[in-house]
């Protein structure tokens, strides 16, 4: 215990050094001095009122230090070389050790223990002698590449409480994307159902109970597109041909609209963002037969318009009366000045905006379907290949071949409503049909039938859109439900040689069509040549003998037919398909 600091100081002093003791006497009071108050001084002072006085109220506190007893710890090791011997046995006395051991060996316990343990030990010793149980089997075998298993599953369902059919789906272009969905019944006419709810929803894919936000367009919204750089800007194309621009940060209503006089005369069936420096331009198509280009900063009038007329009767200018109604548009950023347009009559028109005359702009067209072309999509791998869907089939076309599709698959049981290539995988595409099925095709794995199918809904499916990373696909149906379908890894990522193989497939099919086309032309030329020669021959006979004339024409006719048949037989079967295009 530390000692206290002494607050006492002791010293010794002799009595005689103290000094004389004081002796007190009682004396009467004597006035030594009297000082009177000076009035003059008093005038220099005044009474202070109020008086400011500082007071401090504190808790009485004191500081004290204490400490526990210090524990002295020391680490020390013990070396126990041999131990357990009882006290009387000395370690270095061999005799003692042996005697002790002998004693233990004679105990009953010892004998029983040995008898019990020995057989078990023998068994294991023998086992070790017989086989090496610790070796790793199949050590030198190479691991196999896992077999691809296609798996499609519905991850989430977003239902509309009003059960309106879905007219358009679009993913927003942000890191955690949301789904923009527009609901409208495309078969209804404009005037009916004005009280119907026109709201478009923006869904957060993690929350399926209610949408993230709502947009309220002025009318039924047929198309929806999300801005590529601003995730809060959305463009909606309405059923009356007007375009609405929405900003979800600001309000649910449109922040700007195009005037009805300057917009389309029919509902907007296609709306896409185009390439522009400011990323603010988009174009729209409608069954009224024209495409309009807009800048969403200024919707007062369109930037450009183009009537989609390809079959112009002689003597007329291209205008809306001979234009084809637009049912779908396709724009790829790799080709900024060109786009594909699918029409209501089943044509797909290749448009080059940089052309100078109308015929240069609408360069070429294909007869794709017998009905409106519901979707046109260019392949992300081979730009010159595109697929179209409409009526009951999905067809793949090449820009170089005009006459026939390069890849044709079996017709579906129901009408195909939407199709698109997968964004990352070069050889696959997806299609949905009116029977509620989702089909996933892969041309390099299975040519004749889809690789995976999934019955998504018991209602008709209307739209399909794939997220740019390829893993999630949003499918909408006619009952207002949006299904979020997830694909397994092997359906998202392309294989090692896919790009090469797919471009080879494209080359091969295109070449086949070219060859067939050339051959057909040859046949046609030949037939036309033969048609001309009979006319020169019958001229002199006409004047002389009628019977002779008949005979000769008969002969010529049969000769032509025989030639035709002969050629048909020698050619291979694919030509039969293309001859139907005759």
């Amino acid at each position: 215990m530390p000692s206290y600091i002494k607050s006492v100081y002791e010293y010794t002093k002799l009595r005689r050094n103290f000094g004389r003791q004081p002796l007190f006497q009682d004396v009467s009071a004597q006035m030594i001095d009297s000082i009177n108050p000076n009035i003059a001084y008093q005038k220099d002072y005044i009474l202070r009122n109020p008086v400011n006085r500082e007071v401090q109220a504190t808790l009485p506190q004191s500081q004290n230090e204490i400490n526990t007893k210090t524990l002295v710890i020391r680490e020390q090791g013990i070396n126990h070389t041999e131990g357990g011997w009882p006290r009387e046995v000395h370690l270095y006395n061999e005799e003692h050790l042996i005697r002790h051991r002998r004693r233990v060996m004679h105990e009953d316990n010892y004998i029983h223990a040995i008898k019990k343990l020995a057989p078990m030990m023998e068994h294991y010793v023998d086992q070790n002698n017989a086989i090496n149980i610790y070796e790793t089997y199949f050590d030198d075998m190479q691991s196999q590449v896992a077999v691809e298993k296609y798996n499609v599953r519905v991850a989430n369902v977003f239902r509309d409480s009003y059960k309106r059919p879905i007219s358009c789906l679009s993913w927003t272009n942000e890191k955690i994307p949301k789904l923009a969905v527009s609901y409208s019944d495309k078969t209804c006419t404009l005037n009916s159902e004005i009280y119907r709810n026109n709201d478009c929803y923006l869904w957060d894919i993690c929350k399926q109970t209610e949408p993230f936000s709502k947009l309220q367009p002025d009318g039924p919204c047929w198309q929806l597109a999300c801005s590529p750089i601003h995730p809060e800007l959305l463009i909606g194309g309405l059923a009356n041909g007007v375009v609405n621009v929405f900003d979800i940060r600001e309000s649910a209503n449109a922040i700007s609209r195009s005037t009805i006089y300057n917009s389309h005369r029919g509902p907007i069936t296609a709306l896409l963002f185009t390439h522009s420096r400011t990323n603010t331009e988009f174009f729209t198509g409608s069954p009224d037969g024209q495409c309009l280009w807009w800048d969403f900063r200024n919707l007062s009038k369109p930037l450009d318009h183009l009537p989609m007329s390809v079959k112009i009767p002689v003597g007329q200018e291209p205008n809306l009366s001979n234009a084809e109604g637009v049912s779908s548009l396709e724009f790829d950023h790799a080709l900024p000045t060109k786009f594909l347009c699918g029409t209501e009559s089943g044509l797909v028109i290749n448009v080059n905006r940089m052309g100078r005359s109308h015929s240069e702009i609408l360069t070429s067209y294909w007869n794709t379907h017998s009905g409106p072309v519901r979707a046109v999509h260019r392949s992300p791998c081979t730009i010159r290949m595109f697929l179209t869907c409409g009526d009951w089939t999905v067809r793949v076309w090449s820009e170089e071949v005009r006459t026939a599709p390069i890849i044709v698959t079996k017709p579906y049981n129901n009408q195909v409503t939407d199709a698109s290539w997968t964004p990352l995988r070069f050889s696959s595409y997806m299609a949905i049909c009116e029977g509620g099925n989702f089909y996933y095709w892969d041309f390099l794995r299975k040519y004749r039938e889809p690789v995976a199918t999934l019955k998504v809904s018991k209602y008709q499916l209307t739209r399909l859109t794939c997220h740019s990373e390829g893993k999630s696909v949003a499918i909408g149906d006619i009952n207002g439900s949006v299904f979020l379908v997830q694909l397994s890894e092997n359906m998202v990522i392309p294989g090692n040689h896919d790009k090469q193989l797919m471009s080879q497939t494209y080359e091969r099919e295109t070449r086949r069509e070219h060859i067939l086309d050339a051959r057909l032309k040859e046949i046609r030329l030949k037939i036309r040549a033969e048609e001309e020669t009979p006319t020169t021959m019958t001229m002199p006979d006409e004047s002389s003998n009628e019977e002779n004339l008949i005979q000769i024409t008969e002969q010529q006719y049969f000769k032509i037919v025989k030639d035709e048949l002969h050629q048909l037989v020698t050619k291979t079967t694919p030509s039969n398909e293309s001859i139907s295009q005759f």
């Binding site: 357990g84 011997w85 060996m105 010892y110 223990a113 010793v125 070790n128």
Partner: protein, 97 residues
């Protein structure tokens, strides 16, 4: 009776591949051994501790369970330990192949 025990231990030590046999009692003293003293003492001390630990592991995971055998495979040899109530039988074996 004691001879029988001796015989058993001797037979065990003459098995193919067996390098040594040690019988250790509850206090850690090697009672019967076919190896050198210092090696036996080392094995005795180390194995007793390990067997106790292993027993504790087995009993802790399932109190109705008990340790019957312990095998330690190393690069050069295999040590097999058969525990009993009071004694431990240790056999050191070299792999045959």
């Amino acid at each position: 009776m004691a001879n029988e025990a001796e015989e058993t231990v001797r037979k065990l030590s003459t098995h193919k591949g067996v390098a040594g046999v040690i019988v250790v009692n509850g206090e850690g003293i090697p009672i019967k051994t076919t190896l050198d003293n210092h090696v036996s003492v080392q094995y005795a001390g180390l194995m007793t501790a390990l067997v106790d630990k292993a027993k504790a592991v087995v009993r802790d995971l399932d109190p109705s369970n008990d340790l019957t055998f312990l095998r330690i495979r190393s690069k050069k040899s295999e040590v097999m330990v058969a525990p009993d109530k009071e004694f431990i039988l240790i056999v050191v074996q070299n792999p045959v192949e």
